[in-house]
Structure formats: structure tokens, C-alpha cells
């Protein structure tokens, strides 16, 4: 298991190679990328920041939890920080296991828990020059 916060572009293929092995019949990868619209607004870029000491520890803990839930799975996760443009990958996670079910389930567990628990924040920069912090707990008007 390896979890890291990085500032360089993410390379999902490198993560796949890192977890792969002759005993792993299944490898899976999740890549999250900066989207061009959010809440109907045109997003130009997103600035990611973190409470780095805690975020790295929390990510590593989540990967360990996944390893306990899905015995035999190997996971690596990298979260990119800094200013990312539309299409840039902000997170990449790779999972490998003897069988596809555990690889996919562990991957899903890892990305869901990372989104809920790891202290990372994003400030969206919009095409009109404005910006705002993203608050996933905010109730959207209907």
C-alpha cells in the first residue's frame, strides 16, 4: 500500500505497473479529472490544497482499511495538489488482486472514503474570473 500527495502530473499507467504482479489476475484503476462545468458554471481550473500531514496519513489509513476488507488486495493512491486545469487528473488509484471482484470493490471503497474523509479542498476558478471553495455539504437549491 502506498499513499502520496504530489504536485507533478499523475501517471495511472505507472500506478498499474506498481501494483501488478504474476499473482494478480485483475488490476483496476480510477482516475478523477477536473471537469469543465460544476453547478452550471464554466470551470477553468481548480486549485487543490490539503492539510498535508493529516491527508497523507488519512489516505494511507483508508488503503489499509481496504486491505483488511478485501484480503490480498494491493492499492496505491496519489492525489495531486496545486493548480490543475480542465482535463488534468487530480487523483489516481490503482488496485490489484487475484480476482476482479475484490480489485473493483477495494478501488470503490478507497475513492469513496478518500472523498469523504481526506482533508483536501478545492477552489474552483471560473471562466468569468470569479472563484469559490467547493463545499460538498452545501444543499443545492432545486
Amino acid at each position: 500500500m502506498r499513499a502520496a500527495l504530489v504536485t507533478h502530473p499523475l501517471d495511472a499507467n505507472a500506478l498499474l505497473r506498481e501494483v501488478g504482479g504474476p499473482g494478480h489476475g485483475a488490476t483496476a484503476v480510477f482516475v478523477g479529472t477536473v471537469r469543465s462545468t460544476n453547478d452550471g458554471r464554466d470551470v477553468k481550473a481548480i486549485e487543490y490544497t490539503a492539510y498535508e500531514e493529516m491527508a497523507q496519513r488519512e489516505m494511507a489509513g483508508i488503503l489499509d482499511e481496504a486491505g483488511q476488507r478485501y484480503s490480498g488486495v494491493i492499492l496505491v493512491a496519489e492525489h495531486r495538489l496545486g493548480l490543475l486545469e480542465v482535463g488534468d487528473a487530480s487523483i489516481a488509484i490503482a488496485a490489484a488482486h487475484a480476482h476482479r471482484g475484490a480489485a473493483l470493490d477495494a478501488l470503490r471503497y478507497a475513492i469513496d472514503e478518500i472523498k469523504h474523509r481526506v482533508p483536501v479542498w478545492k477552489r474552483e476558478l471560473y471562466a468569468d474570473g470569479s472563484q469559490s471553495w467547493v463545499d460538498p455539504t452545501r444543499v443545492m437549491p432545486t
Partner: protein, 80 residues
Amino acid sequence: MLITVRFFASYADSLGLDQTQLTLDAGSSVTDVLASVAQMPGAHALHARPLVAVNHVYADPATLLGPGDEVAVIPPVAGG
């Protein structure tokens, strides 16, 4: 005892600082830190019961603090 309090993202913007130090009585808890923070200029923009971590681990408001502890007041996380 001296406690370091850290703020991030929207909370740091609202308060105008990312770190401060508080002198609290022995036996103080996270609740006491949040009460002090609530008196700071700009604190109205913080959630009523924000997420808190003590020494890099999520903690509930009743958590007792020790000298030198680092308390982080954490806005809603948005990683991934």
C-alpha cells in the same frame, strides 16, 4: 497550556489567518477551542459544529487536550 490551532481553505480565508495559538486551562477540551474560535472575527462563516482533528486524527468535541497539541478546524472536505 499552549495549543496550536490551524485553519484551512475557506475557514482560513474567512478568519484571515491559517494558524493561531491559544492558552487554555489544563483539562480543556476541543469544545473550549471551538468556543474561543467562535469569538474570532470572521467566525460567523464557519459551520456551527465543524470537523476537528487533534494531532492529525479526527476527534470529537469532548476530546481532552494536552500541552502542545495541534487542533485543526476543518472545512467540508472536497478531495478526489
